[in-house]
Every structure is written in structure tokens, then in C-alpha cells.
Symmetry: D3
């Protein structure tokens, strides 16, 4: 039995696995939990991040507007299922005004480290790169320097320092609908200057695990377990009618997380429902956040559906690790 | 309160805006009004034009055949909702036999000027260009010279002469699935020779209004109002899984229609229903015609859905102009 | 009245044509007959072949795994509708071990000739080419030499020798999502060495029959009739949102099958249902097998739906030939 | 013996055909006559037009600047070989200030009609289209309306009205390095409004005349002969290392110039010299102007070389027509 | 010391290796030996094949015409350097008239087997494939069936049966400027039906041997030596300005020629001279034929230069094998 | 008169500007100074860096091998013109063995800071990124951590700390022949961790300065002057026959080098000679190093020519700054 290293979260949203269901992740029955028009200005709400906050939850939500501008918004929930999202995007403060010029902001992650909530997101600065900011209260937000040069997407922090350094996973990319992309690991003493970059995982060419043959990118904040870091990630295949985004997972070495102990040959989730297969970008599931309860091993995933709405799905650390080990590359 | 400059149309099809509905355009509840197999030979019926005719309505319909050939067909309706479409395509007459060789014909518009109904369409003449013809009775049709050299799509006439000249909006393009396209304005003394071309609107690069970042094209015949010409147009974004076609609107100067007074930063309608998101080309709404009632300010839109069926949607001139002014670029 | 030259198949699956239905092929009402997770390892089951076997049916099924690897599996059915598919892929025997190294295997066809069941499939050998094997009992399988050099797809044998030679239709292609492809005819004395290749049918450029303008490929084993070989094939168009796969048919000369007597200008079937329009690759129907009953002229088609599930559809030789002759290029 | 219908030009530049030379066009021995740095600001001088003017010659020259901006400059010569080009680009006058905003200007042609010298060029107006202006003295220049909507290149006027109308050849294109392009004919009563467009010549697919398989475009002002209009044009093939531009010719019907009487299956000139094969765009010869002497039938071509310098070449009307008739498609 | 297994050829063209020259192949000092206008109709003469014939030499020459049509022509030479090429293309005889319809013919090879000269070439039959014909006297030519289905290029026969079968190397490709391509081996009992295809060599991805990273194809008829078959082949890299074609060699197992004993990591020749770097397709050297003298080990290569002219180059079997072994992958 | 802030270099290679030469940079008369076969293994030697070293010069040279592998080699020269290049590539030492696995290495720059020579280069680490190493004596070389995540090219250090930080210019890119690319500025306390990235210069779209419309990248180590940092960079345009690489320069603010004071609208050098226009990649000049003499203001550039050989060119700080100011964007 694997153990999640982390906090208890007794009010974690939960539904039991349906009878006879065979895949390691099961959907919330009333998905999607957030509709495309959740706030007056929104065209779609997806690829969003949530964390336990006070006696409930807070989050940073990607709400594409009805002008189809991409931006991130704060939101709050008592139960993790029903959300109130602010109607105005997050306003960051910084002494450096150039940093605050935002071309676009999307696909946030939130990571609590030490005393504050760090938000990372895909930040438009002459191309997509990884923006970093933090908040203590989800009211005031402070923007730091971008982590990297463009072009990058999916900056995902680890929830504690490793070997005395902050650590981030990301996917270097280009300036468009990148048709390639591996996962790398970067380190920092201060979350300001980054280096010691390590390659973690590549796409899998050919027929062996074709669902992740075009590009892969890290999803939620890695989950610390007694067997290593549990990373949930997205993988993409190019069909003759476009991309399909699926979900996989990997177990990374606890001290050298660029070393992969197990990696899912089989995907762990694939688009099958209408709200995943129909929408602005069909056939996309894209996980950005996970809640975990160390007591029960429960894991709740928040994932974007068809780049249009937000879904919830459930698993446990044992379910996932067992599946991973049984279906590893 | 804005006024439509035009005729009364007391029998205009109509449904009230649903309670709590927030977008400026609302769908007919029994959409689609024309199914894909509306005539025996049809694969799909969409991107079509209608006008008041006698005590009812007439139209020119794009019916792609079961060989997926594109052609236009006449049709008639008492109420604007239930349509009888001819089983044979429109036959034009002309002294010039070369003109009558049709490679393909699609996406018609109809514009009543003075004494007759002008039809414009995308006409295959060694590439797509703008064909022009007219009819008095929707029985006999007369073909004129093509307006322009290839390559062009979406030729849309103004319903009266402006500055003593006929006027047409169009979208120059290329010979395939053009991934670019602005709207231009052209003038003519006789609908035969065209010149004095003016650029009207470009696509919007970047994040500001990304739904119209790939190409835009004029939709229905512009609606004359006391504040200017109300133009409804389509805008296209390129996602990693293809194009999404949405709808926007603009207010053009009444005397110099190449000058844009307002232009929708937010789209006014986006594909959300099954019949818009599923079909031969998913995620397409494409408006080609509008009925208006000057008495009530009501506007009814006919639009193609997923390049497969035809839908109906409603708004009013005030609803649209208020929204436009509140959400203008 | 046309006649199928072949065996009786009294237990052929069957449903009558729905009242008022106008197309020449009608779907099984409980489609899809095989779901995407039909076996524990499968992501999808589609593009598969079946034949009468003993007092029921046997088949070779393309099951893409949850790692999205493509392979073929044997399966059995009493009624042709309810299938039991093996959980492990077909294992071929051969003295030549290099041949048995499989990069991937997909889109099988099965053809009974003389005393055994030949299976042909798209076989990965430094690129896709046509693999050939045979079985007597669907338990032991023997692999022969690949028919051709790469790159090729859709190798379809004729059910008897023609002019004293084995004959195969195929679609030469390239190493990716080939955007071109005609149908050719090849001959062999021994199913081992192939030559005397003949061009059969090309794609149709332009507007005349645009559904088959990008590529075409043979589907089920050709059906021998007293008027010629009835070939059902797929045709593909490139829309701005990807490919659409439809179905057509042709009548080939009985002795010189590279000569086309009739060819469907209109398609005979197009994706319209949810299970054909939604899935891993939307808007695909892809026929790989047909059952026929010479007594009644009934034809049952097995076809892949959206590269995800398997459907069943019905027609008769008369229905299809009448439609073909009435709608021929 | 064919006759040029036109003026005498006794001082036409001239060199005799070299002994044993077999092609119908021979080069000036001291080519290039204009070097890339002919004026202080120029990176290259090519694709330019000249006409007899007073007792010498005048011209409009495409000089790309050292910032690689494309613009046109006036120039003068006594002998047609040695040229003085102005150091500042041509300044057009117009009442319409929007017209004068130039995005870019390139590839001019000059055509004397009635009382003035008309200049047409590829004019940047929200994309490339055909600009028209005129001058009486090559000192003052007046800009008219653009002839067409974008996208178009190579607007070439006929030197007199035909059937009572001005006439222009052009090549519709797109907004980049267009990989397609046919020649069309357009008509006008006033050089301001254009219509009655006719297709003249298409590219030749396949192996028959592959040098003109990608795109073709009209070159110098058509030369009137007693057998029809002699059109010299460029044709382009796509090799695996880019485009090669060659020269061909055609004889157009004198009254219906969109009807082609002869068209060169063989090219009439191909890049072979260093100054044609090496430069900013290797392997390009591009004719934009011709001088003719009706007395002797001599024709002198001015052509751009490798998009870098300007060359001179010679032929006679008989040489060209004989070759054309002997090598016609 | 390696030995060529073959005939003496005492009058083989020859020049000694220049003093201090370090590469294994050296050029004929008066290259190119065949100019682009070698026959009246030719635009270029390259990628051609020669063999000893009577007391001199005969050959099949690719002469692209001045319409840039590709065809093959017979030619004769006393010394292998000075060639007389026929002015009309080779005319093949066959009972099958469909075979004689030629779309295009290019890049011939000639292989003497038993009693006749076999010619193979890239033959247009609904796409490029491998044509085969033979002659006894270079006056009468007989066409056989195409070896393969399209798409294929570079069909190169072995000069004797191997394991009792005829053998051919080739490069499967697609219908354009194929950006991929490996070398395969095919076998036949009768030169009519082909099978038992084996993969021989793939391109080399990455930095290890990048000159052959895009595609490779067999060149001259393999040279039999006492150490194996010496194959000279072309390899292609994609630069940002197009393809560069270079030359390499390999030593294939004498009895199982699909097994590679040595393969050149370093190229053996690269374009450096003006006639190789400038022309219709710059930076191409393309070997199609070799003469050998078993007595001296001399090898003479005929190779196309820049797709424009024909060059000659020299080496010896020892020079090449030593270099190959010292620089093998 | 501008002043170079730096050392005297009395033995700097030098030739005076030719009489009447108008461009700000003039070539060494005996270019290229390094031929393609400068060392036995080399296919080409270009894009290389040199620095004053002891009483002469040392350098790091990009020598592509005859297998067309890219690597860097040390070299030495007395006079900066005649070079001896080592026959084996540079061997770096590091405790981290993963770092030493080189996929490829190319386009080095050398920058002396404080006490040692830093070498930066394009380093293959799961894609191109910026490698950093140093040497004291050009005998022993020590490799540090890569500066950035892939994908990046052209990492160019500043020769002293700025605002207390090391500084580097670079061009983020993708994993192929990147068709885009701006210049950015990055900062570091230790050359190990990088951050505070700033955008410096973008490409120039449209006609204004088209030679730098596709991509730009920093060249030699910036030259400190009393007016700011003088940056020489390459700029690229996309023609229909590929890229052309030219040279430009800019003056950056001395304390905030991401602020551009002047930037060349006109290029300062363009390919015109045979050795720049003919070679493995025609039409490329690519500067990687500059020598400067503070006493005289002389500047010597080392630049790659056609990706094949290495050239030398001369200017002075005044010549360049005057030209820059007179031709600035």
C-alpha cells in the first residue's frame, strides 16, 4: 500500500468507483462541474487549478472570454465542486511594470510552498513562457520574474524544495500549436534564477505507446508518495483529424525527479464523454490540478474538457500506482 | 433606440428571447429548420439566403449533393421556417455561354435593389470568384458577368446605391481552404465593372479578439439603420483541431461604409449546440441572410450549421447595437 | 435482377430497410455492435473483417490498445452480431523470423480461397505495407511474405483466381496520413511474387464527386455478381477541419477487374450518427468486410465508426447496383 | 514574314545573334547592364520597365533598397543600355491620400496609350494588387485607383483599346510566395472600373511542359503583330530546391486576346549564366519590358536576373514566331 | 587487396588521382563531359547510365527537353567520354499498349545479364514506379511489365541472379519531392513478378551522419567484389535552403545483399565544383552508372550534376573499400 | 568620434577600405581565410569564434565533418588570418557525465571575462540549447551547466558583468530550421542559474526592413563603446528559394542593454561573392566573432560563408556607428 506524503483533507470531494468500472480514474457523475458560461464574460472555463484554502478551496481559473482572450481568474468553493469565480481577472502587483504587460495568460497551476500559494501559468511575453506569482489570501497577487525564456508551456512546481532547491517541470515549445514537446526539470535557489535543467521524459515514437507520440506535458503539482513523486501528465497523438489529448502518469525518483521509475504505457484516461469530445477543441482532456487526502489516499483531478468546460475525476494513490506498475513502458 | 431603415415585415418569424438568456442572439427552439436531406439529392443544406417574396419568402439554398457537389437551388416558404426547396439547381440564362459553364456554386446571398432580386455567390470560374445574377420572380434567372477576378468569396451587395454607386463587400482569398482573409468594399456604376476598392476590416492578430484572428467575411446583406450599416460577419480562429467559425457584427459609416464605427470585440454567437458542433465540418456557424422588420426592429438570421444544416436565430437592432457598443474593439 | 455468385448464408444477420428510408444502405438499429472497450486492453475496435466460419462466424479485429498500439485479434460469433474477441493478438508462425517482427498491424481483411482463410492487413515493415497470412481454423495462423514494398494500405484479395492468377486490390500510399491515393490491381501466381500491376480508379478532382477527391481505397473482399465484381470502397475529402471518410461502390469487369464499368458519383453512405461523427477520429466510416447470401442477395457490411467502434449495415445486391447505375460517374 | 504593328525605333539597342546559337533569344554580351548597386541605396535592381522617350529611353526600375524595401524609381538612358536611375523613388500625386500610402511597390510595367505613359505595378494595399498611374514626362506622376482587389501581381496593359475597351492581363495570387497562378484578361471603359474578366492561360500540370507547371504571369506589354498579340511571359517550376523562373511566349487572338492561338511548349529562355543562377533568388529570369522596331522586327527584352540585376536580350518577331509555331502546345 | 569480380575493360576512361588529393573519388578534369544542350531538344542531360558495348560504349541518357519533359535517349561512344546521343527518345515495343503510354521516364540504369542489356528507369504510370525493358543492340528496345506498384524510384538490378533469383534494389517514395526514403531489396524468378522484399538500409537520423538523414537511394549497378557487393548510393540532407545530394557507398553481403557489412559514415563525394553547385537544382551529385575493369580495379562513375549536366569521376575498388572500412557507421 | 572601451590589439589583422567602396564593411581580399577542407575530417569550417590569446590568437571552430556531424575544434593563429585547427574536437571535462553526452555542438562564441575564456555554443541536449564552458589555456576545457532549457541558439555573453550580473543574449527557437526568432537578454549571478529575461529586438514584418523579417540572432560578443554596446547580428528573409542571411548592427544601452538606441534599417553586409553565394547553404553570411583595437577603433569580423567556409571583414567603430545612425529604424 502506497502512502501519500501530505496533509489530510477530510472534506475532499468524493464519489466511489462505479461497479464494474475498469479504468483507474472515474468521472464525477454530474460533470462538467463548471460550464462554459460560468461567469458573464466567459466563452469557456477549463485547464484550471485549485487548492485547499481555509475551510474550503480556492483556485485560479482559465476563463477564455467571449472575445476569446485567455486570462486567469480567482475562484472559491466550499466543497470543491460548486465554484464562485471572480468576474474580473487576477491583477498582479510588481515593481517592474514591463512584467505586468500581459499578452495572454492561461493554464494556471497552484502550488503551496512554505507560507504562500505560488501560481504558475503560461504567460505571454513576446511568446508563451512560464509566469510565476504568489498570493497569501487569493485577494492580493504578486508577480515575480518569468521563469524561462520563451517558448514554454506547463510550468509545474514541486510542493517542496528538493536537494535544497525549488524545482519545476515544464514543456519547452514553440510559438504556435507546437507539434512536439518533452518534459524537463529545472532548479532554482530563489524561484528567480533557474538552471541545472534535466530532461525527464520524451514522447514515444512509433506504435508502442502512440497516444503520447506527439507531445507530453506535466499536469497537476506532483504528488509526493513514499514510493516517489506521482506525476500525472497529458499526452497527445496526431490523427488525420487533429490532436487527441489523453492522460497518463509516471513515478519519478523522490530525490532525483528527472529519473523515471515507472511510466504509463497505457493511458489512464481518454476522452469518451460528450463534454470531452465536443466543444471548441474536440477530444481534449487536460489535467491541471489534484487534491489529495493523505489519510485515505484519495486523489481528485480537475481537468479541462474539450477546451470548453471543467470536469472532476477520482482515483486513489493505490489504484493509480497499481495500474501504473502493471502497464509501464 | 436605433431604427432599421427599411420595410415592415409583419410576418417575420419570431420567438422571444428565453428568460435569463444573456447573449444578444438566441436560437430558434426547433433548429435546425432545414435538415441535411431536405431534398432527395442533398447531402447537406446550409449557408443559404432568403428574402421576403410576395406574401411569403423565397431563397437561394446551398445544397451540396450526395456526390458532394456544391450548387444553389431556389426555395419558397410561407412562414420563413418551413421551406420547399426545388429539386433541380437554379438555371441561369446569359448570352455569354462561357459564363454559364459552372465549376461550382455556393454560399449565395440575395439582395433586392430597385426592381429585382440580385443573387451573388461564390462562383467557380478557374477558381472561386463572385458570381452575380438576378431574378424578378425566382423562376427565371439571369446571369451577369463575374464581379471580380478570382480568388474571392462572400460577395455581399448593399441594398441601395451609396454615393451613386452600387457597393459590394467581399473577402479576397486563394484557391484552397484560405487561412487568411479581410473584408473589402468595392464600387460600381453598373454592377458590371468594379473599382474604387477600399479595405474595411482586417483580422485581429494576437489575444485581443482571437475568435477573428484567422479570417473574417461578410454575412447577410448589411442592414441600414439610422446609426449606420449594421454588418453581421463571420470570424474564424485556428485551433489545434481546425477552424472554429463564429459570428460578430460591426457598424459601418452610412456614407463611407469602409469606415468602421464599432466592431465587436466579443463574438455575438458561437457554436454550442449539437447541430452546430457535429456535422461534416464541426464547429461552424455561418450567417448568410437576415430578415428585418423596421416596425419592431426585429432581425432574424439564417445561418449554416456545421456545413450540414440550416438554423434560425433571433435578435433586435437594439439588442445588437447595445451589445456591440458595449463590447467594441 | 442481379445475382451474387457465391454461397448461401441463411443465418446472415438482417434487418429490413426502414420505411421511407431512401439511401441504399441502412444501419443496424443497435449499432455499434462492438464497443470501444470490447476487450480489457482495447481503446477501440474498428476496421475489422469477418467471414462465415463453421456454423457461425469468425473474424480478425483491429483492436487499438489503451497504449494506442494497433494490432489484430481473432474473434468468434454465433450470429454475426454478438462477438467474442480474443484477449491476445493473433500470433503468426513463419520460418522467417524477420517477417514476424511486427511494427504494427491494422485494418485486416479476410478472404476464403480454395481451402483456407487468407488474412491481409496493413503491416508495419519499415513502413506500412500489405501483410498476408492464412489460417484453416482461426487458431493457428501462418504468415507469408509481404505482398509489396512499402508504402501501401488496404490490400484486398479477390475470392478466386482470375485469368489463372491470384488478384489483389490495394492503395499505394506514403509513410504518414497520406493525402492522396488511388486503387490498383496486382496479380500473382503464388501469392508470393506480385506483378502485372494495373491502375483501377483515381480520385476525382474538383466539384464533380468531391467526397472522393483526396483518396480512395478498397473495402471488403469484392463481391462476385453476374454483372461483374461489386467493389465497396471508401472515399475521402479534405475539409478545413480534417478528413471525412465516406463509402462508395463500383462494378468492375469480371475478367479484367481493372476496368471499371460503373462507379458511384454519389456516395452510398456518409457519417451521420453520433457514433460515426464523434470518437477518436470524427466523421469516419470505413468498411472492411461484407457477408453475402447468394439466395436472397443480401449484403451485410462491417465498418469502423470514427476509428472507435464497429457498426453493421445492410443492403442488397439489387439495391446497390440500381443505385450505382443511377448515380454513376 | 510577320510584322510588328508599331513604331520605328531606329536606335533600338542591338547585337546580332551569335554564330551557331540555336535558341530564339540571345543575351547582350555585357550583361548585366544594371548592377545591383546602381544607385547608392540599392541592394538590387531588376524586374524593370523601359519605353522609348524623347530621343532616348525612360524607365521605371524596381530597386530594392539595402533595407530590402521594394520600390520603383524613374530612370533615363540615351541608348537603352546605359541608365541613370533617380536616387529617390517615384512620387505619385493623387487627391485620395489613402491611395498614396504605399506598403510596397514592385515589378513595374510601362505602356504608352494615346497621350501618356501608364505605369502599372504590384502595389501593396493590404496585400499585393495592381496599382496604376501615369506620367507625361517622367517627372510628374499621377496615381489612379488600384485596378483590382488584392491579391494580384503582374498587371500588364495592352497598348491600345480592344473592342473599345482598355485591357489588362494579370495573375491573381495570394498573400505570400504564391505556388499557383494563371493569366487572366480584364476590361475597362475608363481604367478605373474593371470587369468582363476572362481566363487566358493555365499552368500545365504533369510532364508535358513542366517548366510552366507551378505558375505563369505576363511579362512585357504585348506586342501587336499582324498575326496577333505576341505575349512574352514567365513560367515557374517547383524543384526540390525551390522555384526556377523561365520565359515563354504565346500568340493571342488580335480581337479576343483571351483566346490563345499558339503557346510555347518549349521555353524560349532559361537561366544559364552566373548572373541569372546566382543572386538573392537564384535561377530567376523575369521579363518586364520589350522594345520593338517595326521596321526590322527587332525585339529587345529587359529582364530581371536572380532578383538581383537587370539583363538585356535580343530576338526578332520572326525568330520568335517561327520558334513558337514549331514548339507549340 | 580487393578484387572486382567481372570483365576486363582495358579501354576504360581514366585519369590518375591528383597529387595530394585526399578524397577517395576524383573528378575528370574536363568535366562536365556532357553539356546541357548536348542534343538540340535538351534542357539538360544528367542521371544517365552507360555500359561497355561492342568495342566502345552505349548508354541511356536522361535528357530533359526544353519543355522540361523527362525522357530517356540512347547514345554511343568510342571512349566513354565523348558521346553521341540520339535526337529522339528510346521507343519501346510491347504487346501491351497500356504499358507504352508513358507519363514520363527518367534516371535510367543499365544492367547486362546473361544475354541482354536490361534498362530500368523511373516510369510514370499513375505515379512514378520502376519500368523495365531490354535491348540486345541499343536499336530495338522491348518493354516489360513495371516491377512494382507506384511509388518508387531508383530501381537498380544486380548483374547476376542471387540465390537463383533476379534481384533489384529500389527506393519506395511518394508522388512528389519525397522527403524520406530507404533502400529495399526485392526478388524475382522472372523479372515479371516480384516479392520477398527486404529492408537494406535506412536514413540516419540526428547528427551522426547527417548527409544521409533525409533519404538515400541506390546508384549504379552494384559491383561484385570478392568481399561482397559494392554499392554506391546517394544520400540527401535537408538544409534551410533545400536538399543537398551527396554520394556514399556500402558493402553488402554477397549472398544476402540485404545485410550491410560496411556503410560509409563519411560521404565519399560532395558537390563542390561550379557545375555541381550551380544549375537547375543546385548542390546535387547523383551517380547512376559505373564502369569497372577487373584487371586494374578501376571504377569510373557517371553522375548527374545539379540536375543539369553529366560528370565523370574515378576511383579504384581498393581506394573505395579502404575508405569505407575506415569510415563506416 | 566613438571609442571602443577595451584593450589595444596592435597586431589586429587589417586591410584598408578599398577606394570608392561605399558599404561600411569590406572584405579581406584573400577570402575565404579558412577553406572547407581545412582539417582532414572537415566538410566545412564556418560560424567560428576567435579571441586574442597570448601573442597571437586562439579560436573555437565549427567544423562539420565529412559525415556532416557538427562539432567544435580549438585552433591557433599568429596573425588571425592563417589558422591551425586541431584535428580532434574539443574535449570538455565535468563531474556531471550526463552533461558531456553531446548530441551536437555548433556555432561557438568565445568571451573573455575576468580570468578565463568562456565558450558558449549551440549544444544538443534533447534539442538545441546554449552550452557553456571555459578554458584558461585552450588546452583544458571545463563544461558548465547549460544556460537554458531547449530550444535556443546563439548564446552570446557580454564581456563584463552589467548591474552586477553576467548577461547573455540569445535567440529562442524550435527544434528545426526555425522560421522565427527574436533576440532576448538574460541575467545570472553565477553563469549557472539564469533569469530576469528581457526582450531586446523583434523581427521586422512587412516591407520596412525585410532582410530581417524572418529571424534575427546575435553575432559576436557585443563591443563596448562610449555610446553603448555595439551589437552585430544576423537577419534572415524568406525568399521563394529559401533563406538569405545578412548582417546588421544595433547600439544597446550601456546599463540596460535590452533597450535599443539604434538599429540598422539597412543591412551592413549582404552575400555577394561566390564563396558567400555558393556552398552547402547558399546566400549565408553569419558573423560569430569580432576582434577590436581600442586604439584605432578597428573591428575585424569573422563570419561563416554559405555554411561552408570562413571569411574575414573589416570596419571601424566610427564607420559602423555613423552608418547605423544614418540608417536606423
Amino acid at each position: 500500500m502506497a502512502k501519500i506524503i501530505g496533509n489530510s483533507l477530510s472534506n475532499i470531494p468524493w464519489q466511489e468507483k462505479p461497479e464494474g468500472y475498469e479504468m483507474p480514474i472515474w468521472r464525477y457523475k454530474s460533470n462538467p462541474i463548471i460550464k462554459r458560461n460560468a461567469i458573464p464574460s466567459s466563452n469557456s472555463v477549463f485547464n484550471s487549478a485549485v487548492v485547499p484554502f481555509k475551510d474550503g478551496y480556492a483556485g485560479a481559473f482559465r476563463c477564455d472570454s467571449k472575445s476569446v482572450s485567455m486570462d486567469i481568474f480567482a475562484g472559491f468553493s466550499k466543497d470543491g465542486v460548486n465554484w464562485e469565480i471572480e468576474h474580473e481577472p487576477i491583477v498582479f502587483q510588481s515593481d517592474n511594470t514591463e512584467l505586468l504587460k500581459k499578452e495572454f495568460r492561461y493554464d494556471p497551476r497552484i502550488c503551496f510552498i512554505e507560507d504562500r500559494y505560488y501560481i504558475t501559468w503560461c504567460n505571454g511575453y513576446h511568446g508563451p513562457t512560464i509566469g510565476i506569482g504568489y498570493t497569501f489570501d487569493f485577494k492580493e497577487f504578486f508577480q515575480m520574474e518569468n521563469a524561462f525564456l520563451p517558448f514554454n508551456r506547463n510550468g509545474v512546481l514541486f510542493p517542496r524544495m528538493i536537494n535544497g532547491k525549488y524545482a519545476m517541470l515544464s514543456r519547452p515549445s514553440d510559438n504556435g500549436h507546437t507539434p512536439f514537446g518533452d518534459i524537463y526539470y529545472s532548479q532554482s535557489n530563489d524561484l528567480e534564477y533557474w538552471g541545472h535543467h534535466r530532461h525527464v521524459m520524451a514522447t514515444i515514437p512509433g506504435n508502442d505507446s502512440a497516444w503520447q507520440s506527439t507531445k507530453i506535458g506535466p499536469g497537476p503539482i506532483p504528488i509526493e508518495t513514499d514510493e516517489g513523486w506521482l506525476l500525472i501528465y497529458h499526452g497527445v497523438i496526431t490523427t488525420c483529424n487533429g490532436f487527441v489529448y489523453r492522460m497518463g502518469c509516471a513515478l519519478l525518483d523522490i530525490n532525483e525527479p528527472w529519473k523515471v521509475k515507472y511510466r504509463s504505457k497505457d493511458y489512464i484516461m481518454t476522452p469518451t464523454t460528450d463534454y470531452e469530445c465536443i466543444g471548441d477543441v474536440p477530444n481534449v482532456i487536460f489535467p491541471c490540478a489534484a487534491l489529495t487526502d493523505a489519510d485515505t489516499g484519495r486523489i481528485v483531478l480537475y481537468y479541462g474538457c474539450a477546451d470548453t468546460v471543467t470536469g472532476l475525476a477520482f482515483t486513489t494513490v493505490d489504484t493509480l500506482l497499481d495500474y501504473l506498475k502493471a502497464n509501464s513502458l
